[in-house]
Amino acid sequence: MSELLVKNARVIDPLRGINAEVMDIAIRDGKIVEEVSGAAEVIDARGMLTMPGGVDSHTHICGTKVNFGRYMSPEDMRAGRTPRRGPMHATSGYSVPTTYANSYRYSVMGYTTLLEGAMAPLEARHTHEEFTYTPLQDTMANTLFDGNWGIMEAIRDGDTKRVAAIIGWTLRAVKGFGVKLTNPGGTEAWQWGQNVSCIRDPVPYFEVTPAEIIRSVVEANELLGLPHSVHLHCNNLGTPGNYTCTLGSFGLIPDLNKKRQTLYATHVQFHAYGGSGWKDFCSKSEPIANFVNMRPQIVMDMGQVMFGRTTTMTADGPMEFNLYRLHHDKWSNHDVELETGSGIIPVVYRRKNLVNSIMWAIGLELALLTKSPWQCLLTTDNPNGAPFVKYPEIAALLMSKRYRDAEFATVHPDTESRVPLPAIDRELDWYEIAVMTRAGAAKALGIQDLGKGHLAPGADADVAIYPILIDEVDPSVDYRKVIEALSQTEYTIKRGRVVARRGECVVDGSNATFWVKPKISDAYDMGKDPDFIEKFDRYYTVRMRNYPVQEEYLNRNRCIETEAGI
């Protein structure tokens, strides 16, 4: 039995409505408890900001495309090198660091739970292998279904139950957590050299539209009773004028779940563009945020862009090809048979570039214009908008108008006429930042009942203690102190153990992976469905029995069983 007592902490725990109360947090055997014995180890967190461990609801840290980003950019691997130190392995990389580097840097920032945003089912093993070497965070993987042949055929036949059955079988096979749609239909069209421009274009050879895919998968997701909603990367990413397409996609979403949203729209910054081309490119964050304000069934994340170099990687292959044609730098492209695809290119976002400056502003606007912080979460879609190490700066930008103005003075001068940002006075408070970085993310992912994102008795003892006295520091003025504090915790506690202390990771750790296993009736068991088996034998390069990821691939495994309505 191990016991730990965090005393005199200044706690913000939004899922319990606790806002800056001084409290003690008692921990026994990795869980939060009511009280501990006098023999417990004590950490004095006098006055320090203490929150549940951070939850990143959308990041790219593990899997084949992340790894490809590593090996196509040796210059990136030269940055951020640290030697082996204590229990810490040697690390390298900046925008696509090694798995250990990701894990350590997140841990030092107080993050304890990460969702890998896109896992191609066929390549799931690699993702799980890399999860094993991301030791200080619990992990889960959204699984890509955007160009799945079986699903598109079931949608064409109008059979939503079959869609659910295929999703359920696949998630169970690949140990996935949620459903990800990336440019639904478009990535499949790209395998034929085409794309879809918005939700009403038919996908070549499949006679379905993205709108049908989105609607049907959203329904299937609820039929399966999955903890997380559908995680959607809308069509037409990064194109001027695409906000209409985004609004159209949002308009398709019914309100189907009382506990959480029905749609999680990811990196919406990249989908809130106005104008008819790059010349009259402008921000359309207002209509997007207004729409989300009226739709409790939608939660989005910012996809904030920060200046500097990074690597973009997405299953949206055609979009990456278009970006490649703009930049003419390196490009990689990948087709995952019958399922999805991907593209990767390195980019540099520059202050002197008007388009980049507008993109930077849009992410902030979305967060500031969305009334409820529960509906707009703080992410960069790491590393697409920026590496996650920029999160503290983003939080500071949201908390300080003065900081925003100072930064705004350094961007392209024409930005002012294209974005509403300078007119927005809102400054978020610590509570709202806590929602956007942990409580809201845990709720949106549907993992609060599994003990994530809060500090109620019974929850996992994942705690982040930041060296900042929030009564004394005014974030709107002392934004530098905010950045400093959020960049490096005094203590990061994971499953009841101190894992990081003032920038150093102090233990080896071992993570847990969350995955879902929907209970599906025999009639809908795809493993016994002759058509599905035949399709598998005919088109996949692997045998059906070799396809599922064995449970040995999961380090510590937290299986979520759900009751499916089929």
Partner: protein
């Protein structure tokens, strides 16, 4: 100051020695350095007999002389070198002069792969042959050599001056396949033959005084020019990537 590092005869070993500490400026503060052989860290004097003559205040005044039969096992000699001189009385291993920005390296034997990779300044003279990726970039990198000069008196291997963005590379013998591939700038001169020169070049100049085998069809012929007493055919390209480089060849033959 002259530092002579004479390699001690060792039991036959094929394990290379990582010797990035051998750069002139290191020796201003003595010879207490280590190198790695496999996973073993060894003091410099376990590998070499060290002789120091004279005294130096600045790295410019330091000359390092490497001798012995197995100098070609030494890797990364002169990495990040910025001044002074290294003379190798024999061959040298891979990655000699990586990221070099100043000074001179003279090699009296052959150099292994990646000689002068991503160098930005200084001079490398190789009296023998240079293996693949001489004066090139690295795996997946954007830019190879950006400045300085490399002169090879023997032949060079494949991917000579890959991704070169500045500086001068001269090979007196022949080069292998893909010489000057992805060129962004700088000058490459091959006195002998090579194949598929300057593929996908954007800018810069590539001269082939011998025959360009497997000449790429994506270069546009402009005419002939006189260059140092030779009549060369002038091409621009690579048109496949909107390139505006110049390729000058004495003779060329397309693939059948």
């Amino acid at each position: 100051m002259k530092v002579t590092l004479a390699m001690k005869p060792a039991a036959k070993s094929f394990v290379p020695i990582e010797a990035e500490s051998i750069v002139p400026k290191s020796f201003l503060a003595g010879t207490e350095y280590s190198v790695w052989r496999g996973n073993r860290e060894l003091r410099l004097d376990e590998i070499f007999t060290i002789t120091v003559e004279g005294h130096a205040e600045r790295a410019e005044e330091v000359e390092v002389v490497l001798s012995g039969d197995e100098t070609s096992r030494l890797k990364r000699v002169g990495e990040y070198m910025d001044a002074g001189k290294i003379t190798v009385l024999g061959g040298i291993g891979m990655h000699c002069g990586n990221f070099m920005s100043g000074g001179t390296i003279e090699i009296h034997g052959n150099a292994d792969g990646w000689l002068g990779r991503e160098m930005t300044g200084g001079t490398i003279i190789c009296r023998g042959d240079a293996a693949d990726y001489c004066a090139s970039g690295y795996r997946g990198g954007r830019k190879g050599m950006k400045g300085g000069s490399v002169e090879v008196f023997g032949n060079a291997g494949d991917f000579l001056a890959e991704h070169i963005a500045g500086g001068t590379v001269v090979v007196h013998g022949s080069a292998g396949d893909m010489a000057g591939v992805e060129m962004h700038g700088g000058t490459l001169v091959v006195h002998g033959d090579c194949s598929r020169p300057a593929a996908n070049m954007k800018e810069g100049s590539c001269y082939v005084y011998g025959t360009a085998h497997g000449m790429l069809p994506t270069f546009r012929k402009v005419g002939t020019v006189q260059h140092e007493g030779r009549t060369l055919t002038h091409f621009t390209g690579d048109l496949a990537n909107r390139g505006k480089g110049n390729l000058f060849v004495k003779d060329y033959e397309y693939l059948d």
